[in-house]
C-alpha cells in the first residue's frame, strides 16, 4: 500500500496516494529460484556452422580451460575467453582424420588430447602443436570412446563396436589389457576421480560394468543393469556414486553399496544423450559453497539440472534442436552444449578470472574476513568531530528517523496540481503502458479523461493515437482502450482529417484492429471445431465479412471502430474462453 504515515501526528488527515498501475496476477509457477537465476546467468553464445552433429565436447583441466569439440572428421579447440568477447571462431582445428571423430579426452595436465574415430584408430595429439604423437591401432571396429584416467598420465581407455574395452600403455602404443564382458557395443566410460585403477563402462547391452585393472582375470568387479541401452556414464565427484544415462532416464547408483540404484530421474521425454557434472554456487547462512549437480541433455532439446543431494530437478532449459553432448568447465564459468545440427551453445558467466573452484573460493573468502578493524571512535578523539554525513550510527546511538520522502513521478505531480492534460501527455511520452492506463483510469475517476482528449493539440493527439494503435487490442486493456479509441475518433474526426500524420496513425490503428480480427476469427473457428458451435461462428464470420470491406473503402474511422470494438469485445471473451478451454 502506498500509505505513508509521518512519524509525528499528521497535520492533515488525507494522505498522498500515488497513481499506480493495476496489479498483475502472479504467475502460477514458482518464482525464479536462486538456482535457476544462477543457471540463467550463463550468457549464451551460439557457435554455428560446424558441419554435423557435435559428438563430443571436452574441457581442458588446466587454465584457461580450452574446450575441444569433435564434429564430423575434425576437432576444434575453442577459447572460452574469446567467447566472452563474442568471437566464435575456433582457436585451432585438427582435421587430419580419416573418419568421423567419436570421442575426445584431455589428459589431466591439459597438454595432450586423445581422440578416437570410427575407423578404429585412437590418436594422441599435442594440444599446442596439433601433431599426432601416438597412433593406437588395435580396434577392429569403430571406436566409440577414449578416456584419460583422472589420476594417471600414462594410460588410456578406449572401447567401441567390437565390444572390447582396451587399456593402453600410451608411450609404448601397446594394449595392456583387453577387457571382455560386454555383449554389445560399448558406448561410454568414465574413470574414477579417486582411484587410478577403477573405471566404468556402459554398453548397449543395458549393463554398466565396473572394472579394476588390478584384478587378475580381466573380469568386471561389479555390474548394474540400466534397463535401456546406456548412452553415457559418469562418476560423481565422491567416487562412490555413478550416474548412467540411457533411454529417457538418468539413474544414480551406489557402487560402495554393491550397485544399488539410488534414484531414477525420468524428466526427459526422449533419449538422454549425454550427462556431466556441473557446479552451482550456494549461499547457506551467508557462507558460500559449491554444490554439485548433474547436467543432462537429451534429444528432446532440454537441458536439465538435477540436484542429486535432494533428488530434484532444479532447473530446465530448452534449446531448439536435439542435443548430443554437454560439458561444464572446471572453473564453473562455461558450459557448452552440442546439438545434432552442428551448433554449439556455449554459455559463459561473468566472474572473477582467478576463481578456480569452490575450494579455492573458500580460501579467498577467508581472506576477506580478516580485514583490519578500525579503531573505535570516542568523543575524546579529534577524529570524532570530523565525521561526515555518511558516518554510520553505532550501536548505542539514538536514531531520529527522517520522514520518508515520497517519490512522485512527473504525472503524479501534475495530477496533484490538477493539470490533467499535461499529466496525460507526460505519461504518454514515457512509454510505460501500464502507467498510461493507470493515469487514464485516474482521469476517469475524476471524470476528466474526455475533456483532456478534447484539449490535446495535434502532436499530443498523435502521441495518444500511437499509444492506442499499439495497445488498444491488448486483451488486458481493451475494455478501456477500445471505448476510448472510439470516443477519441468521434471527438477529433475533424483534426484527423486535416492532418496527414494523424491519418497515418489511424491507418496503423486500422491495421492492428484488422490483425486482431483475423486472430479472433481463427480462434473462433478453432473453438467452433472444439465445441461444435459452428452456427455461431458462421454468424460471426458473416458479420466480419460484412464489415471488413466497408472498412477498407470508408474514410470514416468511427464506423470502423464501432464495428471493430463490438467484435473485439466479443472476441476478447472468446479468446479468454479459448485459453481456458485448453
Amino acid at each position: 500500500m502506498a500509505e505513508i504515515r509521518a512519524e509525528e501526528p499528521a497535520s492533515t488527515i488525507s494522505k498522498t496516494f500515488l497513481i499506480k498501475p493495476k496489479l498483475k496476477s502472479k504467475p502460477r509457477s514458482l518464482p525464479q529460484t536462486p538456482e535457476s537465476k544462477y543457471w540463467s546467468s550463463f550468457k549464451s553464445t551460439k557457435i554455428p556452422n560446424l558441419v554435423s552433429s557435435i559428438s563430443s565436447l571436452s574441457f581442458s583441466p588446466s587454465p584457461p580451460h580450452l574446450f575441444a569439440a569433435a564434429y564430423s572428421a575434425s576437432v576444434s579447440l575453442f577459447s572460452p575467453l574469446s567467447l566472452s568477447d563474442g568471437d566464435v571462431s575456433p582457436s585451432s582445428t585438427i582435421s587430419s582424420f580419416s573418419d568421423v571423430v567419436s570421442s575426445i579426452s584431455f589428459r589431466n595436465d591439459g597438454l595432450l588430447l586423445a581422440t578416437s574415430d570410427l575407423s578404429g584408430l585412437v590418436q594422441v595429439f599435442d594440444v599446442k602443436t596439433r601433431t599426432p604423437l601416438r597412433r593406437l591401432r588395435s580396434h577392429t571396429r569403430p571406436v566409440r570412446f577414449v578416456k584419460y584416467p583422472v589420476l594417471d598420465k600414462l594410460h588410456l581407455l578406449s572401447g567401441g563396436d567390437d565390444a572390447v574395452v582396451k587399456f593402453w600403455d600410451v608411450a609404448g602404443e601397446s594394449v595392456v589389457l583387453d577387457l571382455m564382458g560386454h555383449k554389445d557395443y560399448v558406448r561410454c566410460s568414465d574413470c574414477s576421480p579417486v582411484s587410478p585403477d577403477l573405471f566404468v563402462t556402459g554398453s548397449y547391452d543395458h549393463t554398466v560394468k565396473v572394472w579394476d585393472v588390478r584384478v587378475e582375470n580381466s573380469r568386471s568387479v561389479l555390474e548394474v543393469n540400466h534397463g535401456k541401452p546406456v548412452e553415457d556414464v559418469i562418476y560423481l565427484p565422491s567416487g562412490g556414486l555413478i550416474a548412467t544415462a540411457g533411454g529417457n532416464s538418468v539413474k544414480i547408483w551406489d557402487l560402495i553399496g554393491g550397485g544399488r540404484m539410488v534414484y531414477s530421474m525420468e524428466s526427459h521425454n526422449k533419449t538422454v544423450t549425454s550427462i556431466c557434472v556441473g557446479r552451482v554456487r550456494k549461499e547457506n547462512d551467508g557462507a558460500e559453497s559449491m554444490e554439485d549437480r548433474i547436467l543432462s541433455v537429451g534429444l528432446d532439446g532440454y537441458m536439465k539440472v538435477f540436484d542429486f543431494g535432494n533428488m530434484k530437478v532444479t532447473h530446465s532449459m530448452r534449446f531448439l534442436a536435439p542435443l548430443m553432448s554437454v560439458s561444464f568447465s572446471p572453473d564453473c564459468r562455461t558450459r557448452v552444449i552440442g546439438t545434432s545440427n552442428g551448433i554449439i551453445f556455449a554459455g559463459r558467466r561473468k566472474g572473477k578470472e582467478n576463481v578456480e573452484s569452490g575450494r579455492v573460493g573458500n580460501v579467498l573468502g577467508f581472506e576477506s574476513i580478516s580485514e583490519s578493524e578500525r579503531r573505535v571512535l570516542k568523543p575524546t578523539y579529534f577524529r570524532y568531530f570530523h565525521r561526515g554525513q555518511s558516518e554510520k550510527p553505532t550501536e548505542g546511538d539514538y536514531l531520529v528517523m527522517r520522514n520518508k520522502k515520497i517519490k512522485l513521478a512527473e504525472h503524479d505531480k501534475l495530477l496533484k496540481k490538477f493539470r490533467h492534460k499535461d499529466a496525460l501527455v507526460s505519461v504518454l511520452s514515457r512509454k510505460n503502458r501500464e502507467n498510461v492506463v493507470a493515469v487514464m483510469e485516474e482521469l476517469v475517476a475524476r471524470k476528466k479523461l474526455l475533456k483532456c482528449v478534447s484539449n490535446l493539440d495535434s502532436d499530443e493527439l498523435g502521441l495518444l493515437l500511437t499509444f492506442l494503435s499499439k495497445n488498444a487490442t491488448m486483451p488486458r486493456y481493451s475494455s478501456l482502450l477500445m471505448g476510448l479509441t472510439k470516443k477519441v475518433i468521434e471527438m477529433r474526426v475533424e483534426d484527423i482529417r486535416n492532418s496527414d500524420a494523424l491519418k497515418g496513425h489511424i491507418r496503423n490503428l486500422k491495421r492492428s484492429i484488422e490483425e486482431e480480427l483475423r486472430i479472433q476469427h481463427s480462434l473462433q473457428e478453432i473453438q467452433a471445431l472444439g465445441t461444435s458451435r459452428a452456427s455461431s461462428v458462421n454468424l460471426f464470420s458473416g458479420l466480419g465479412n460484412l464489415h471488413l470491406p466497408s472498412l477498407q473503402t470508408s474514410l470514416t474511422p468511427a464506423a470502423l471502430l464501432t464495428s471493430a470494438s463490438l467484435i473485439l469485445m466479443f472476441g476478447n471473451k472468446s479468446r479468454m474462453a479459448f485459453v481456458n478451454f485448453f
Binding site: 500500500m1 499528521a10 497535520s11 492533515t12 488527515i13 494522505k15 474526455l450 478501456l480 471505448g483
Partner: protein, 812 residues
C-alpha cells in the same frame, strides 16, 4: 442497555476553563471528553431531548479556574445548571418551550457574590412559542426572548425579535453584543447595563445581498464578520456607532451626515466600512476571531480551515480535512482549539502550527448516493465476538467502531483516494463483510464509468494482524464477475471461504490459501483464489448465505433459492419461489431454517425449512435487515412499516424489530423504532470484560441485540431478559426523543403492549397460507432438474388445471 453512536456535532462544543475538558452535546446528554487522551470522562444526563447549547461559566477570578459549572439548554424546554466535574445537576429552569439556542452575554459584567449585591443573570434564548398556536402563523412563532436565570423565568412579554426559522444566537466575546442572521440581514442587539430586566435592548440591522450563513464578533473592537452562501466573508467595522451611541442620548450629527465615508456599506447601514474577502468556493460555515482579535478563522464545505490576518488579508491554510467544517472553538488555553467536522469527528488542534493532536471520533454518518446506485445494501458489517461494527464512510474508508466503548477503533482506507467534500461520486464502496472472528474482511467497490469508459468492479480481501486490528490488503480481484456488479459477499463460518454473488448471473466461491512466512516476525500470508463458479439459469444472483456449519451455501437466484455444496460445487436443491427478488438470505443459527427477505412491490419475509425444503411460514413485510445469532434458533427482523400505518398507529416510528422463534410465526417480542430505513441488526456476543456495564440485576446476558438506525445511532439490549424489555421500552422513548422535531414529551409508545394485538391481527390474514401455488403455477411446476420432476400424471393435472384457471379468468 447501552446506546451510542450519537452525533457529536449537532451543536458547538465548549471547552472547560482549564482547557482539559471538552463538553460535547450528544443528543440528550452532554459528554465530557478529556482533551489530553480524547476519551470520554463522564456525561451529564438529565435532558429528555436534544441539547442545543452548552455554556461553561467563565471564571470571575483566576482562583475560580478550577470550578466546573455550565449551563445547558435543550429542546425539552429546560435550562439546566451543572457541576460537570462530579457530575451533578444543580438547578433546572423550565420555560416549557423548546430552546434552539441560548447565549449568556453578561457573565463578565456580573459582579461577584462578595460584592454583597446580587445581580440577576440574564440569558437570551431562541425559542419556539408552542402555546399560542391559534392566533399566530407558524412563521412568527420562533422568537428571541430574554430569560432571567437567577429567578428562573422568562422576562415576560419581552420579545426581541421574531424569525421564520429557529436561528442560532451568536454573542460577542466581550459580552456587549449578540446577533442573529436572518436571510440577507444581520440583527445585532446591544446588551444594556444590568439594571432592570425589562430594560429595552437596542437593535441595528446590517444588509447584504446574499443569504448570510454565519456571523462572528471581534473580541475587542466593533467589528463583525459574516459569511454568506457564495463563500464571501464580509467584515463590517465600527457597526452601530450611530444607534448605540445615540442610546446614550448624545446624537452624533456628523456620522449621520457623512455617508460617503462608508465604503461598501449598503442601505445607509450603521457601520463605518464593509470589506469583502472571497476565497471559499461554497458557503462559509465557520467564522471565528482569534482571542487577540488579529486573525479570523473561516471554513466551509470544502474542508479547509483558512486563517486570515485581519489587517492585511493574508491567508494561511489547514488543507484537506476531508469533510465539511461545522464549528471552530477556541479554548482558554491559547495553544489548543477544536474543529468539528460533518463526518462526526472533532479534531483538537495544536494552535499556532495547526497540527492535529487528537481526534474524538464518533461513528461516521451513512453516505448517500444518487438513486441509480440504490440496492447496494447499507454497507454495515458486524464483528459479533468483539462487538465491533464496520461501516463504510464517505471518504472510501471502512470505519471500525466499538459498540461497547462507543468510539472509533480504526479506519481502513479501501480505495486509494482522498475524498473531497463536494466531489462527484466516482467510486463507491458497495459492500463489506467480516468473518466471524473478525480477522478477515472483504470489500467490494465500483468505479463508475465516464460516459461508458473505464468502469471497474473490484473485490478486495483484507486480513488483520494477530494483535492489532490493522487490516492489510491481501488480494485484489479486478472484475470478479466480468463487468457485473456484486450483490453480496459472505464469509464461510470457518473463515477460509468467501462467496460473492453478482447481478451478472453467477456466484464465485473464493478460497484462502495461507502460508506462514517466517522472517523477522511471524506473519501469515493470505492469498485468495477462485475455487468454483456456479450459476442457475443465468439468473441474477441477488443474495447469498452459508449455513452455520458451512456445509450448505444458499444463493438466491432472483426469486428462487438455490442450495449448493460449497466444497464440491454441487447443486443440492432449488427452493421456489417468491414473488419479488430476494435481497437478503440468512440461516437461523444452528437450526435448519433459512430466512429469505424480498423487497419491491410485493415484499415478503419467508422462513424455509431445510429438512422439508418448503416454506414453513411467511409474512408480507418490508424487511430492512435480518439478524440471527450463531447458536440460537431465533432471529430478529427489522421491518419498515408501510406508509399508511406509520401515521396512525406509530407516531413517527417508521419501523419495528420483531424477534421470532424460527419455528413459530408469532413474534416473541416487538420493539418499535425510528429511522429504520437503512438500519441494521445484529446479535452481539458478550465478552466477560464488558459484562459489568451491561448486566441488569446482576445477571449478565449472554447475547445482546444491536440495532443501528439509519443515522448510525445504535442501541444494545438483551432481547430475552424480561426486565431489559421494560428498560428498552422506556429507552425507546428516549430514542424517539432524538428526533429534532421537538414536540412535547409524550411519545405514545409507552403502551407498546396495548398496540400489539392490533398489529398482529392485521398480519395473519394474508400470509398464513404455507407457500403459494401462485396464480401462474405453470411457471413453477416445471422448474428444477428433470429427475426431480413429479410423475407425469401429477404434473399433467396441475398443468391442465392451471390452463383452465387461466381460461376462466380470461372469460371473465
Amino acid at each position: 442497555m447501552m446506546r451510542g453512536g450519537r452525533s457529536l456535532v449537532s451543536s458547538p462544543p465548549a471547552f472547560s476553563n482549564d482547557a482539559k475538558k471538552l463538553l460535547v452535546c450528544t443528543s440528550n446528554t452532554v459528554s465530557v471528553f478529556s482533551t489530553v487522551t480524547g476519551l470520554l470522562i463522564t456525561s451529564l444526563e438529565g435532558h429528555t431531548a436534544l441539547v442545543t447549547s452548552v455554556i461553561v461559566v467563565p471564571p470571575s477570578n483566576p482562583a475560580a479556574k478550577v470550578l466546573c459549572y455550565c449551563w445547558t439548554a435543550s429542546l425539552d424546554g429546560t435550562i439546566r445548571y451543572w457541576d460537570f466535574s462530579l457530575p451533578e445537576l444543580m438547578k433546572t429552569i423550565d420555560i416549557r418551550m423548546p430552546i434552539f439556542s441560548m447565549v449568556i452575554p453578561s457573565f463578565l459584567d456580573v459582579p461577584a457574590e462578595e460584592n454583597g449585591k446580587h445581580q440577576d443573570l440574564f440569558a437570551y434564548v431562541s425559542i419556539e412559542d408552542t402555546k399560542e398556536t391559534q392566533e399566530r402563523t407558524k412563521a412568527s412563532r420562533r422568537q428571541i426572548r430574554k430569560c432571567n436565570l437567577s429567578k428562573s423565568r422568562l422576562v415576560g412579554r419581552l420579545i426581541l425579535g421574531e424569525t421564520r426559522k429557529p436561528e442560532v444566537l451568536t454573542v460577542s466575546p466581550s459580552g456587549k453584543f449578540f446577533g442573529i442572521r436572518n436571510k440577507c440581514k444581520l440583527h445585532i442587539w446591544k446588551v444594556l447595563d444590568q439594571g432592570s430586566e425589562r430594560a429595552a435592548v437596542r437593535k441595528i440591522t446590517l444588509h447584504h445581498t446574499k443569504k448570510i450563513t454565519v456571523i462572528a464578533f471581534h473580541p475587542t473592537q466593533r467589528i463583525i464578520a459574516a459569511g454568506d452562501v457564495t463563500g464571501r466573508i464580509l467584515t463590517w467595522r465600527g457597526f452601530g456607532n450611530r444607534a448605540f451611541a445615540a442610546s446614550n442620548g448624545v446624537a452624533d450629527q456628523k456620522l449621520i451626515n457623512v455617508q460617503e465615508d462608508k465604503p461598501g456599506v449598503r442601505d445607509n447601514d450603521d457601520a463605518d466600512s464593509c470589506s469583502t474577502w472571497h476565497w471559499h468556493s461554497a458557503e462559509v460555515n465557520v467564522l471565528s476571531f482569534s482571542s487577540d482579535g488579529s486573525y479570523l478563522y473561516s471554513g466551509g464545505k470544502e474542508g479547509v480551515l483558512v486563517v486570515w490576518q485581519l489587517d492585511t488579508g493574508k491567508k494561511k491554510f489547514l488543507p484537506r480535512i476531508g469533510s465539511p467544517l461545522l464549528y471552530f472553538i477556541d479554548s482558554p488555553d491559547p495553544t489548543l482549539s477544536s474543529i468539528s467536522c460533518a463526518d462526526n469527528q472533532i479534531h483538537l488542534l495544536k494552535m499556532p502550527s495547526m497540527g492535529i493532536l487528537k481526534t474524538i471520533s464518533g461513528i461516521k454518518a451513512p453516505c448517500f448516493y444518487p438513486d441509480i446506485y440504490e440496492g447496494l445494501g447499507n454497507g454495515i458489517a458486524f464483528d459479533q465476538t468483539a462487538g465491533i461494527v464496520a461501516v463504510r464512510t464517505e471518504n472510501y474508508c471502512i470505519q471500525f467502531y466499538s459498540l461497547f466503548d462507543d468510539r472509533g477503533v480504526s479506519e481502513v482506507q479501501v480505495c486509494e483516494r482522498n475524498h473531497q467534500p463536494g466531489d462527484d461520486v466516482t467510486v463507491i464502496v458497495t459492500s463489506v463483510a467480516l468473518s466471524i472472528d473478525g480477522s478477515l474482511m472483504s470489500t467490494s467497490e465500483v468505479k463508475l464509468a465516464e460516459e461508458g469508459i473505464g468502469g471497474l468492479v473490484c473485490l478486495k480481501f483484507w486480513d488483520a494482524g494477530s494483535q492489532n486490528k490493522e487490516f492489510s490488503l491481501s488480494t485484489i480481484v479486478y472484475e470478479p464477475h466480468r463487468d457485473a456488479g456484486i450483490s453480496a459477499v459472505k464469509f464461510h463460518p470457518s473463515g477460509n471461504m468467501v462467496v460473492s454473488s453478482s447481478f451478472g448471473g453467477d456466484f464465485k466461491v473464493w478460497k484462502c490459501n495461507h502460508d506462514v512466512i517466517q522472517n523477522d516476525q511471524m506473519r501469515q500470508n493470505f492469498s485468495w483464489t477462485c475455487h468454483s463458479v456456479g450459476s442457475y439459469k443465468k439468473k441474477p444472483m441477488t443474495a447469498a448465505a452459508f449455513s452455520a456449519d458451512g456445509s450448505v451455501l444458499a444463493v438466491a437466484a432472483e426469486t428462487l433459492i438455490t442450495l449448493w455444496n460449497p466444497y464440491k460445487n454441487v447443486l443440492l436443491a432449488v427452493l421456489g419461489e417468491t414473488l419479488t427478488p430476494i435481497v437478503n438470505l440468512s440461516f437461523v443459527g444452528k437450526s435448519d431454517n433459512l430466512v429469505a427477505a424480498s423487497c419491491g412491490s410485493n415484499p415478503q419475509l419467508s422462513v424455509w425449512n431445510m429438512s422439508k425444503l418448503s416454506v414453513s411460514w411467511s409474512y408480507k413485510l418490508h424487511i430492512e435487515a435480518v439478524a440471527s445469532a450463531v447458536d440460537l434458533s431465533s432471529f430478529a427482523a427489522l421491518v419498515l412499516l408501510p406508509e399508511s400505518s406509520k401515521k396512525t398507529t406509530f407516531k413517527g416510528m417508521d419501523g419495528v424489530i420483531l424477534l421470532f422463534n424460527a419455528t413459530d410465526p408469532v413474534p416473541t417480542v416487538i420493539w418499535s423504532v425510528r429511522k429504520a430505513k437503512g438500519g441494521a441488526l445484529c446479535f452481539v456476543q458478550v465478552n466477560p470484560s464488558s459484562v459489568e456495564e451491561i448486566s441488569i440485576d446482576g445477571k449478565a446476558p449472554e447475547v445482546l441485540l444491536a440495532y443501528m438506525n439509519g443515522d448510525h445511532e445504535y442501541v444494545l439490549f438483551d432481547p430475552y431478559c424480561k426486565d431489559a424489555r421494560e428498560v428498552s421500552v422506556s429507552q425507546k422513548e428516549g430514542l424517539a426523543a432524538h428526533d429534532h422535531k421537538g414536540q412535547a414529551g409524550q411519545y405514545g409508545y409507552a403502551s407498546i403492549y396495548g398496540e400489539l394485538p392490533e398489529f398482529d391481527r392485521k398480519r395473519p390474514e394474508a400470509p398464513w397460507v404455507p407457500s403459494f401455488p401462485s396464480d401462474r403455477p405453470w411457471e413453477t411446476i416445471f422448474s428444477g432438474s428433470s429427475h426431480n420432476l413429479p410423475p407425469l400424471t401429477k404434473l399433467c393435472s396441475a398443468f391442465l388445471e392451471s390452463l383452465l384457471e387461466k381460461r376462466t379468468a380470461a372469460a371473465e
